[in-house]
Symmetry: C2
Subunit: 214 residues, 2 copies
C-alpha cells in the first residue's frame, strides 16, 4: 500500500467525472486543455486507488470511494487472536479477598469466573471496590455474589477483527472482553474463555501500528 496526495489536476478530474460520467479520457483531456498522454498517469492513479472506474469503450465513472481509510483497513485485518492476553480465571467459590489478591499478583484489571471450566462471570476492579465497601467480610463472600453474570457479559471470538472488539468495548462501556469459544454440552451452549481483549490491548496495538510505520 502507498498513499498519494492528490494534485489539483487529479481533484479537478474527479469533479469532472462526478458531473459528466460516463466520460472518455479524450473528453477529459480536451476540457483540461492537455493531451491524453499527459492525463494517463493521473487516470492510472485515480483508477488504481478505486476512486474512478474505467469501463472499456464507455469511459470513466465515479466510484464514490473518496475516503478509503487505511486506519480501518488495518484494524480489520488484525484478528482478536493476534492481540489478546492470557486471561486470569478463578472459580466461582473463590472469596472476594482472594480475587483481589489475584488481581494484584497477576497485575490485571479484570478477572473471569468459571464453573466446571466454563465462563459464568466477569469481575472488575469497580465490582471488587464496591464489595469492599459493603461491610461484609470479603474473606467469606464468594466472587459469584458480586460478579457480572453470563449472559450479561459482552464477549468476542478469536476470529473477530480488532476494530469489532474495540467498538464493543466502547459501545458497552467495559474495560475488557472475554474471548470465548462456544461449546455445546448436554444440548446447552457453554462458553470457554480462551483470552482477554482490553483497552490496554487496543491502545498497545495502536502504538505498535504507529511505531511500525514511523
Amino acid at each position: 500500500m502507498v498513499e498519494i496526495e492528490l494534485t489539483k489536476r487529479q481533484q479537478r478530474i474527479i469533479e469532472i467525472v462526478k458531473e459528466l460520467e460516463p466520460i472518455t479520457s479524450e473528453q477529459i483531456a480536451s476540457m483540461l486543455s492537455v493531451t491524453r498522454s499527459t492525463l494517463r498517469p493521473d487516470l492510472a492513479i485515480l483508477t488504481m486507488s478505486g476512486m474512478l472506474d474505467a469501463r472499456p469503450k464507455v469511459g470513466y465513472f465515479f466510484s464514490g470511494k473518496t475516503d478509503i481509510n487505511l486506519f480501518s483497513q488495518e484494524m480489520k485485518s488484525i484478528r482478536v487472536s493476534d492481540i489478546m492476553s492470557v486471561p486470569v480465571i478463578v472459580s466461582e467459590e473463590t472469596s472476594v479477598y482472594d480475587v483481589i489478591v489475584s488481581l494484584f499478583l497477576e497485575d490485571v484489571g479484570t478477572i473471569f469466573v468459571a464453573s466446571k471450566g466454563f465462563l459464568v462471570g466477569v469481575v472488575s476492579r469497580k465490582d471488587l471496590l464496591k464489595a469492599t465497601l459493603g461491610g461484609n467480610d470479603i474473606n467469606k463472600v464468594p466472587v459469584a455474589m458480586i460478579m457480572t453474570r453470563s449472559p450479561n457479559i459482552v464477549t468476542t471470538i478469536k476470529d473477530d477483527n480488532a476494530l469489532t472488539a474495540a467498538v464493543k468495548i466502547i459501545d458497552h462501556e467495559v474495560d475488557s472482553l472475554p474471548v470465548v469459544e462456544r461449546i455445546i454440552k448436554d444440548g446447552k451452549e457453554c462458553l470457554k474463555a480462551i483470552g482477554k481483549v482490553s483497552k490496554s490491548n487496543i491502545t498497545k496495538l495502536l502504538v505498535e501500528l504507529c511505531r511500525g510505520g514511523a
Copy 2:
C-alpha cells in the same frame, strides 16, 4: 489522500531502483521489456507516493519510504486537547472512602488530587482497592496517604499529539495521564490539571477514526 495497492510490476520497479540507483526510465523499461510510455503511470505513482525520487538528467533513486503510515500521521495530527476528558479532582484531605464514592458517582477510573488548586497526586482504582484491604478505617485515612505523588506522575500537555499520549500510557503502564499546564509560582513550577487522557479516550478515538472512514 488516496491509497493504492502496488502492482507486481511496480514492486519490481522498486527492487530494480533499490539495487541500481540512479537508474533512468529507459534502463528500467529495457530491463522489464516494456516501453517507456507503458512505464510512465507506474513511475508517476511511485514518485508521487514518495517511494522513488526522480532527479532530472540523473534518474530514479529509492527514497527509503516504503511504509508511509496514515495511521501515525492521523494520530499525530490530533491533539490531546481534542480527545481529553474533564478530570475529577479532590483535595488531599479527602478520605479514601469519599474518593471511592466520587469514583462511582463520576464513573471514572482515576481521580486527581490537588492542593491549593495544584496537582499533587493521582489515585487509581488499584490504589483504592489496596487501601480498603489495609485494615485501616478508610473514613479516616486521607487520600494523600495512598496516592501516587508528584513528581512520580506521568503527565501530558494539551498540545501533545494523541500518539505521544498513547505511547506514554503504554510505556509507563498507567490507565490515564493528567493533562497539565505548568505555572511558575513563587519561583517554583506548579502543575494545574486541565484534563485527563485515558486508554478509554484513545480507544474511543480509534473507533471514531475508523467509523469516520468506513
